[in-house]
Symmetry: none
Subunit: 194 residues, 2 copies
DNA sequence: CCCTATCTATAACT
DNA sequence: AGTTATAGATAGGG
């Protein structure tokens, strides 16, 4: 709660704070490399986009990425004024939605003949694979079928707002994220319909 | 066409090629700073998440981010085996979908009473402006959900605008989507239903 | 749309 | 969940 998380991920470094010289365009001396013989972690590792076998690990990934996806949806929505809806069926069949899915679905159904099936003629093989990596004509109805994306952005703006409000004009001297709402508060933007 | 888009953004740099020393964990000398007095670009700049006014710019962002969103969706789906569907109504009313939306919607509707409104009772004023920028002094952190609900309204507002346009009430006198605005290839993972 | 320089999202740890 | 080092996404510019 006292954490100043501009980028929320690197509060200690905050590269954003580094003032950017408008027209100078000179390569920075790359700060100062903290020479440490023992990194605390290996940092983000590259992974292959394939099903994660370990249950636990998969769950973590699902949480993190779902959250990230929603955030992206929100940003896209706000930035471009697009209307988005997202629905996700987790493996266990739980439904996570973001935004007024119902409304969007309604609009969708009204605009598109329900019978229209882009992938019509394709057998639904609950097979493993990346339908999204295949030619359109052969996309089987399996992997992903649910994503009605949805809405909103605000997490960030809201946070800033709250901060400003709760401190009037001295927002600068206060943590960017006054409330511990940010990161991993489970369900403010999602609804598990189970 | 799968590997091609691995990183596909920095083919020339490919930081991934840098072999990672498994257990060494020693801070790298940070390569070699190419001292150049004139950077070719300022690189990615931080932007505020708020509506982009410039039509052209907004469309570019829409293309790029929509693409990114779909990609993320695909990854999440593959990685966790979750079923996902995404539908996006662009401002101009164009529909972009990802995944087997129809199938998903069907499942969704079967699982959730269509009448169920998660945000029921939270009638937010459909006024112009940035509702998410409203004062938040009265918002206790425990009620962030209220905001989430409010956020959804954004979509509704946008939807209204879209409707207006549909009715011939032009908001912008610009063509929906310049043909060459389509992201780098109307790949199989997106379908414009318009 | 291709490129870069940056900003962000996260995998692996703790 | 909270960190840290990176992989990955993208705002701008060409």
């Amino acid at each position: 709660m006292e954490e100043v998380r501009e980028t929320s991920l690197v509060p200690f470094l905050t590269p954003n704070d580094r003032l950017q010289k408008p027209n100078v365009l000179v390569t920075q001396p790359k700060k100062e490399i903290t020479t440490r013989t023992t990194k605390t972690t290996r940092g983000r590792q590259k992974i292959e986009i394939k099903e994660i076998k370990e249950e636990s690990k998969r769950q973590v990934t699902f949480s993190k990425r779902r959250r990230g996806l929603f955030k992206k949806s929100a940003e896209l929505s706000v930035l471009t004024g697009a209307k988005i809806a997202v629905i996700t069926f987790s493996r266990c069949g739980r439904i996570y939605r973001f935004g007024h899915v119902d409304t969007l679905i309604d609009k969708y159904l009204r605009k598109t003949p329900v019978t229209l099936d882009v992938y019509a003629g394709h057998d639904v093989a609950e097979e493993e694979g990346s339908w999204w990596e295949r030619p359109v004509e052969s996309v089987p109805e399996e992997e992903l079928e649910e994503y009605v994306a949805a809405m909103s952005v605000l997490r960030d703006n809201l946070g800033k707002r709250i901060n400003e409000m709760s401190n009037g004009r001295m927002l600068e001297s206060l943590p960017a994220w006054p409330i511990n709402m940010m990161p991993w508060k489970p369900t403010m933007d999602m609804q598990s319909l189970d």
